[in-house]
Symmetry: C2
Subunit: 480 residues, 2 copies
């Protein structure tokens, strides 16, 4: 195992954290708050530790495929460092005094989950509110992807690292050079975030609100700065946010293809089509089922679209407490929680492409069992689905449900109702935010025990990194 | 497709049904009830139809592997015929007048589910109570397995047929001849049922009650003849039933190995060990969690063991309304619903062997990703787990969750709470019987709409036959 490389990467992560934290520091100063004081020591310590760790460049800065172990472990450790260091301003400022709560909130931020232990987010200082939402934006596209784009260290072949942090069953490089691919990803990400902020401000959202809302949408995170999430904003602001959440749930490859004018290839993406189809059907179904809660078709459609877009992309913003909706609408919401966004987007969940592959693999297996002599190839995005793909997606599903089952058991020790234990697990493992009942949009995660919160921190990290990196930490002690 | 063979098999199924129904007919006569009148026309019509269908033996009575389609479709059609013809006595006697309800109850019987639409089973005549429980016993080991054992038609190589009806990822033949294997299976099944009846009678259970309870345990069905299921019987009777449910959830190969004195092989079965371990751990956990509902450790242990044994084997008998237990105990119950019994037993669910294979495949994939150069073979029952096994179990899981999701959506249209829609689906797809909330042990399925009941009939048949046979009916219209 390449330990020196792991420490080197953690060093750069700490430096990046110091850089990130200067933003909330300036926000705090701008609003004349004292909260900037709490960022300074964290920035200082991060920089000292970070610089000393990157001082000596390792001889070998490239991860090879055969070293899957090192890259997976690095990614897991880096995300744990992020969650702990990122929680320090909350703790020392006393705004979230309890350690487990602060790490929960920060992990929820970086993993773009958006589940919160805060009872009243409106009491928080501007600086801390900004930092909390900014973690979504950082975690959405990934810290390693950023490091790969800007840090000098990484040669040019560190695809393994990017693979370990990027969501979805397959990662596509836009261009042969990882460094350039990562830079293009971030450029698209920044541009879309800025466009959303401008649109929101045009429709009269306060600038601070617009920025944190855009962070929450871009990372598909869902932290808001109001107790009622997005309910008190105008329908125009809700619609813009609904559309942008949907856009951030699309595979970024599609945007790269559009930028390079490969329109046919971009809109031919099977995952994109199914993703839009699911959103359309779910929106219509909820519009017809939950109409009684709203005034007229237009308003119902707007709320239904917002909620569908928010949940399938695993963002978790709410314009309405869907906990009171009829069970059919609630079941659609729960199913969307599991489906999740597209691979290669900032969203979580199982991912639409995995659902497509699994559905087609059932058809494929049926064909193989029923008519073994006349089997036709089953394709996804024009490429035949291979046995290897089916196997690895199937095993992913197994890993998912093993963690899921463990979490439901642990959470139910707190003796909330079954729906709460079940949907709190779904909400954290899929990086969504709210669930149903106690953890519904109008509720929160503060009442869980520390054990449950630690389980959910595990869920959030495991879900965001798609299990294997986090599992690799447990594999370590048994590796011989 | 070998249509003449399909009709021939349906003919023999009808003849067998006529034979089966003579038993409740005699029970009815013995108790001096008028209910025997309603069995006579059904027996007569079944025989007339059956004999005319088997009159001409098809030229080719063997299914080959390449004809997977014909055998899968036969099995599905035969089970639909069973559910409809079996429901006729209930309908024409007026004891379950509504067609969908009667088919639901009968499908629930044959698939050994045990979910009931009856509000008060104690009002039912003895003849109908007997027939209802007898369907469990018939469905437990399977009708085709019986036909393979006794009917002259089937050559000797119809392994495909047995595979399509037997639960679990792999079917083992005890002896090369299918006919003899099927006969041995039924001999063990009958012997164990008789032993349970004798033991129950020794501990002072009325003979009628003992017979129907043994039918419910042997088939892992769970229909009782009392509103409170097994709650009013003595603890000895509960314990005997608990133990027998557990025994019927074991792969019958184990008993064959014991009979042939291959003890080491029998007790070396990995599935058996994990099955017993899960039962032991779950029983202990519930004993410590739900103790407040019972008087002392012994009583708690007895109830906990009974419920664990009842749910993991997917029987569904109850000695207590576990709906009121703490959420941790309820979550264990829900997890056991999914795990299910052993492959090659009469129980349903995903099966312990599939859970073992999936868990090990996660470890296997992890090893392969993390240390691609030093992969060791992962074994199940001393045989290496192959890519093919992992793929087919993974696809099975996908099929399972596709049907599951569809069912939750359809059931939630009835607007019961989410836990009800979720556990009613789990209870029917896994062939268990009760769920939580509205469908808890003290509740029932009568309040669902016809659409939901039809969905659950589909779940029960799909779950019992492990999806592909039922799917094959939908594949038929698209096969070209």
């Amino acid at each position: 195992m390449n330990y020196s490389m792991i420490f080197y990467l953690i060093g750069w992560t700490l430096n990046a954290m110091a850089g990130f934290m200067t933003l909330p520091l300036f926000v705090s100063l701008y609003y004349g708050e004292s909260s900037y004081l709490y960022f300074i020591p964290v920035i200082a310590v991060s920089l000292v530790l970070g610089i000393s760790l990157v001082h000596k460049k390792p001889k070998n800065t490239v991860f090879y495929a055969r070293e899957g172990f090192t890259s997976f472990t690095s990614v897991a450790l880096i995300w744990i460092v992020l969650s702990i260091v990122g929680s320090l301003p909350f703790i020392i400022s006393g705004e979230i005094p309890h350690f487990v709560d602060a790490v929960f909130e920060t992990a929820s931020g970086f993993t773009t989950t958006g589940s919160s232990i805060l009872v009243n987010v409106e009491k928080m200082s501007r600086g801390m509110q900004f930092w909390r939402s900014f973690t979504h934006w950082i975690g959405g596209m990934g810290v390693l992807v950023l490091l790969l784009a800007i840090v000098p260290l990484v040669g040019g072949h560190n695809f393994q690292l990017m693979k370990a942090e990027s969501p979805g069953p397959a990662v596509s490089k836009f261009v042969p050079k990882i460094k350039k691919s990562a830079a293009i990803l971030y450029a698209i990400y920044i541009a879309m975030t800025v466009i959303q902020i401008i649109l929101l401000v045009i429709f009269k959202m306060p600038v601070f609100d617009a920025v944190v809302t855009a962070f929450g949408s871009a990372g598909t995170g869902g932290f808001g700065i109001k107790v009622d999430s997005m309910a008190s904003y105008s329908w125009q602001i809700q619609l813009i946010t609904g559309i942008f959440m949907m856009l951030f749930g699309v595979n970024f490859t599609v945007y790269y293809l559009i930028l390079t004018k490969k329109f046919r290839q971009a809109f031919g993406s099977e995952e994109l089509r199914v993703y839009i189809l699911i959103i359309a059907l779910s929106t219509l179904a909820i519009t017809f089922d939950a109409g009684e809660y709203f005034n007229g078709f237009g308003e119902t459609l707007n709320h239904a679209f917002f909620q569908v877009s928010s949940i399938i992309t695993t963002t978790g913003f709410a314009t309405f407490d869907f906990n009171v909706w009829p069970t059919f609408s609630k079941s659609i919401i729960v199913l969307l929680m599991f489906i999740g966004a597209s691979a290669g987007s900032t969203g979580g969940g199982l991912k639409v492409s995995r659902i497509i592959i699994l559905t087609k693999s059932v058809y494929r297996e049926l064909q193989r069992t029923l008519r073994p002599r006349s089997v036709k190839k089953v394709r996804f995005d024009k490429k035949p689905i291979t046995d290897d793909t089916v196997r690895s997606v199937g095993v992913y599903l197994a890993a998912y449900f093993l963690v899921f089952s463990l979490s439901v058991l642990v959470l139910s020790l707190d003796n909330f109702d079954f729906t709460t234990s079940f949907t709190a697990t779904a909400a954290t493992i899929n990086n969504i935010g709210p669930g149903l009942e106690v953890v519904g949009p109008a509720g929160g995660f503060s009442e869980f025990s520390d054990l449950s919160k630690i389980m959910m921190i595990f869920n959030m990290l495991a879900g965001r990194l798609e299990f294997y990196p986090i599992f690799s930490l447990f594999y370590l002690p048994f590796k011989r």
